[in-house]
Amino acid sequence: MPLFEGLGDEARVLIAGCGRNVHFAAGDRVFREGGEADVFYVVRHGSVAIEAFLPARGPVTIETIEAGDVVGWSWLFPPYRWHFDARALSAVRATVFDAVCLREKCDGDPALGYALMGRFAQVLIDRLQWTRLRLLDVYGNGDHH
């Protein structure tokens, strides 16, 4: 998994102890806004849509997450609640990690915690940059063609 690349064997064993494999069928809900964010997922196969439900418009897809990427960071900070919905767009195979288990291990091993937080910070920065680019609505206007 790209998220854990560069970590030592000991750290990987600790993290793996909090994970298990899961499957979702196309259309299955992975989590729902407001629900307890006690896990995160690393997608191994398939695609997951992050969605927001808008009154009068229904669900809108904000981003899709593909194989190798992370779904969910609300487990990192209180109040540990999902901010959006997540839905499997196709058959999805993922590894789900128990956030409580992982937070405890990070608290007990600051080096592990630092390494893991650095990796999640990179995920957050990438998503933020992509979101900023989309905020510009660059395709909306201005082409002469």
Partner: protein, 282 residues
């Protein structure tokens, strides 16, 4: 690559539009149409991929439009036009049988033939797929001359995607990945910026030529992502847009630093363009 223009003939100058008849008009999206224009006298110009025409809607005005049709042989001129202003709206409304004025083709070309023997990545954003379609058509027509070939295409919404009816045919021999900025639950594809498609694209950076066209900021991000993958800056080709009026390097409206885009461009290697893009006043 210099090509004879339709206004090179006796009695014409490069500033005098030649009349063309609208032979076909197809709607691509809510505001974008593809027109096929036939010359009144003769087969039409030979156009290299990436070149543009100055298109005159009589009584309204003239705008530069990149050619989106098959490259390299004399024939009808195919233009994909998005109605964003008075002139482009008038062009889009031109029904079959109507007459439009054309000057050109102008500008340089995507060096797609020179990319032969290597991998090709086409990155397009929005209407930017139109000027790149001749590149795709060239690769499809000479598939054995290229290694891997990928088209990575981003648009605002699924309704804004161009040429979706062609993708199934393209996908027989090349990889086509599409993403949109926002979508409803009925959209089964990817949502996100077009550069997110790059990590999954199969190509060998050291032997890859990338062709990029879209909004300028999208091209900058795409170029950076390509550089991070290891593609050489001189093999990242981008197509620039500025306010082109004369098309022949006289009026200076499309000047970008030391270059005139209508004359020296619109296609530039990123290695040439990057220093100019960093100057905000240009």
């Amino acid at each position: 690559m210099a090509t004879a223009t339709i206004t090179d003939r006796p009695g014409h100058g490069p500033m005098l539009p030649a009349p063309f008849r609208v032979a076909r008009r197809e709607q691509d999206t809510a505001d974008t149409w593809t027109l096929t224009l036939e010359a009144f006298d003769g087969p039409g110009p030979s156009i290299a991929p990436g070149q543009f025409m100055m298109v005159y809607a009589f009584g309204v005005g003239e705008v530069p439009i990149s050619v989106s049709g098959p490259p390299g042989r004399p024939g009808p001129v195919v233009l994909t036009v998005r109605a964003v202003g008075a002139v482009t709206a008038a062009i889009c409304k031109a029904e079959p049988g109507a007459t439009l004025g054309l000057r050109g083709p102008f500008g340089n070309a995507w060096p797609v033939a020179a990319a032969g023997g290597g991998d090709v990545v086409v990155i397009a954003g929005g209407i930017g797929l139109a000027p790149l379609r001749p590149v795709v058509l060239h690769v499809l027509g000479h598939r054995d001359r290229f290694g891997s070939a990928s088209v990575l295409y981003g648009a605002r919404t699924p309704r804004d995607l161009l040429y979706t009816g062609l993708f199934a045919d393209w996908r027989r021999t090349i990889d086509v990945e599409v993403t949109v900025d926002t979508a409803g639950p009925e959209w089964p594809g990817r949502v996100g910026v077009v550069t997110k498609l790059l990590p999954d694209a199969a190509f060998t950076p050291a032997r890859t030529t990338a062709f990029v066209c879209g909004p300028e900021i999208m091209m900058r991000f795409a170029a950076r992502a390509l550089l991070e993958r290891g593609v050489a800056p001189e093999r990242i080709l981008v197509s620039m847009e500025r306010h082109m009026d004369c098309g022949i390097g006289l009026c200076g409206h499309c000047q970008l630093g030391p270059t005139l885009i209508c004359r020296d461009g619109p296609v530039y290697p990123y290695s040439t363009l990057a220093p100019l893009l960093e100057v905000r006043e240009l």
